[in-house]
Symmetry: C4
Subunit: 200 residues, 4 copies
């Protein structure tokens, strides 16, 4: 299995990440023309759309960064890893939908259901990412020989709490939708900040 | 004909696969705002959209995996193969449309017509993939010299039944739409599971 | 200027081609749900959409093939070529719009205006492609040294009539919209067929 | 940090640029079918959409050219640069939204608000690009050793006025919306023209 085969899996994944992240803007709707008189107010009024765009953009961006970082450690793949990768992409590509639902319903009676949909998707993404990483790193299955074990352990320690944190945000959202939504943004920002995971 | 020319055909194909698979989410519609009170119910109610998303995502994903695998065996291309590749991409890029039709009409009087459209598209994809593979592998036309003949034969044996299986699912769908739809999902899952095709 | 810089221009162009070609499907609309009873008839009835999808997909696909072929002959670029390339991409990315207009209006009083918009876009694409090729090949400005001059001349002879042929199809369309539309499809198929342009 | 890791950041960025630039066409709407009789007039009437398409396409295209040029000078990256890159992409991917708002409202009472949204986005893009370049080039942090310092200085001098120019266009737009919109197009054309930035 040569290096340039891994390259094509990365290229396809990059494509899905890039498209999903860019499609988010489609769900930020242009106000209707008869609102021309109060356009400024209308544009401010749809801030939940911007909030959703920002949160999901950062989340997908951070997932891409991590996906990218892991692939710098891998020097081969197998069928199971391809499938786990496909499952991860399926959930990433799904994210524009719960984002749009959240933006439309966060200020309505449907806020709780909208946050639940968003949060469940986030938790599933965290679980899929965790499985994808575990399969690659467990017993160093797909890891390049020159990668030190401490680096793998540092990454595993960094990724492990992800599912729990997203479950926590989901729980908060079921109690108080806006708090949950804010927690998802906070998590995306937290994960976006540079940290030390051994050598990148 | 150098290796990096094949690389560009792969890159363009990857792009189309990645975009078609990610565009599927556009057809999963956000409920209208006046359904806020029963949003949870509304979201569950549109499960045919999720079903269609899942089935078509897996189908395109599996087609990509196979497309990718075949290109690891090829070390050149010709004009006819480029055209067959374009035809295959034309059908793959078309899939979001029958997926959306299926999701919208599976619970209506139009279910049979919707399944027919979806199934015919699937059969055409299987036929196009078959021709594309036959052109590349027949007489080892585009195959790299180091690839053993048994591996080609194993792949041909694995791909051959595809068209018949999809024709069968289409036939089932004309009798009983839901059974046909379930068969398309089952086929996608079946093809997604890891199998032994000689060395990948 | 190293080879891998050309590679990035190709990658960006491939992205735009791949996205434009895949976005075409967005304009093939799913029938409304209250047409469930006659869905089969509705689906057949919107054949202008399929016609437009097919014509524009083949046209963009063929443009990509030619773009790709030319880049196998080029081993550097300059600012002007980047700009001409951007102009070509601007027109390619525009094509989903006239395609959708053509599909919606070909059977109405607006057919002539729709064909005119489509045809003018096609002519502009042919002109932009011609300039792009002339800039690269004129005086062998960007051509790799090992490419024989006869090959360049064969390509120039093959591309030269393009603008005239598309102007002819536009003229036909202004007289009789459907004849013009058929001519655009015929041209796309004609250019898609394998031909001998020296060594590919 | 090897060269091919930078390559993947470029590939992901290229993907976002290519998708954002191609999605612009989605916001150029097809006239309604009951306007068939005066389709030609309708198509001309929506020239603000074409204006917006052209301006934003050129702007994103030029941003891509500059992004591309800078990456030919960089031979490594760090976490902060990845984040600044993500921020830049977030704003680029946002651009289809203000473009559509501008096209819909430029001829209405909402013109000033629409130009303000568009202009603020443009200013933020210029600021993000400036920070992204400063981080890479400051103290030659990420610059390849063979790049001469004069080239860096020439680029810095060329990019520096960008934010001010876009602020100026925004100011004009607040006074007279159409003048501001024209200024954004003029800036895109100005930056698109070939210039001497030392060796490209």
């Amino acid at each position: 299995m040569e290096r340039n085969e891994t390259a094509r899996v990365e290229a396809f994944s990059d494509g899905v990440f890039a498209i999903a992240i860019t499609l988010l803007i489609i769900e930020v709707h242009v106000p209707l023309r008869d609102h021309a008189g109060e356009l400024g107010h209308e544009l401010l009024h749809q801030w939940p759309s911007y909030f959703g765009y920002l949160t999901s953009f950062l989340t997908i961006g951070v997932m891409w960064l991590n996906h990218h970082r892991v692939f710098t450690l891998i020097d081969r793949y197998d069928q199971t890893h391809l499938l786990l990768n496909l499952l991860l992409l399926l959930l990433i590509a799904f994210l524009p939908f719960p984002t749009a639902v959240l933006a439309r319903f966060i200020e309505t009676d449907g806020a709780r259901a909208a946050v639940a949909l968003y949060g469940v998707t986030m938790v599933l993404i965290a679980v899929a990412f965790f499985c994808w990483w575990q399969w690659a790193s467990g017993g160093r299955r797909l890891i390049a020989p020159e990668v030190p074990q401490e680096q793998l352990d540092a990454i595993t320690r960094a990724y492990n709490p992800g599912t729990l944190l997203y479950l926590g945000a989901l729980g908060l959202g079921l109690l108080e939708p806006w708090v949950g939504a804010a927690a998802f943004l906070a998590l995306a920002v937290f994960y976006a900040l540079p940290r030390d995971l051994g050598r990148t």
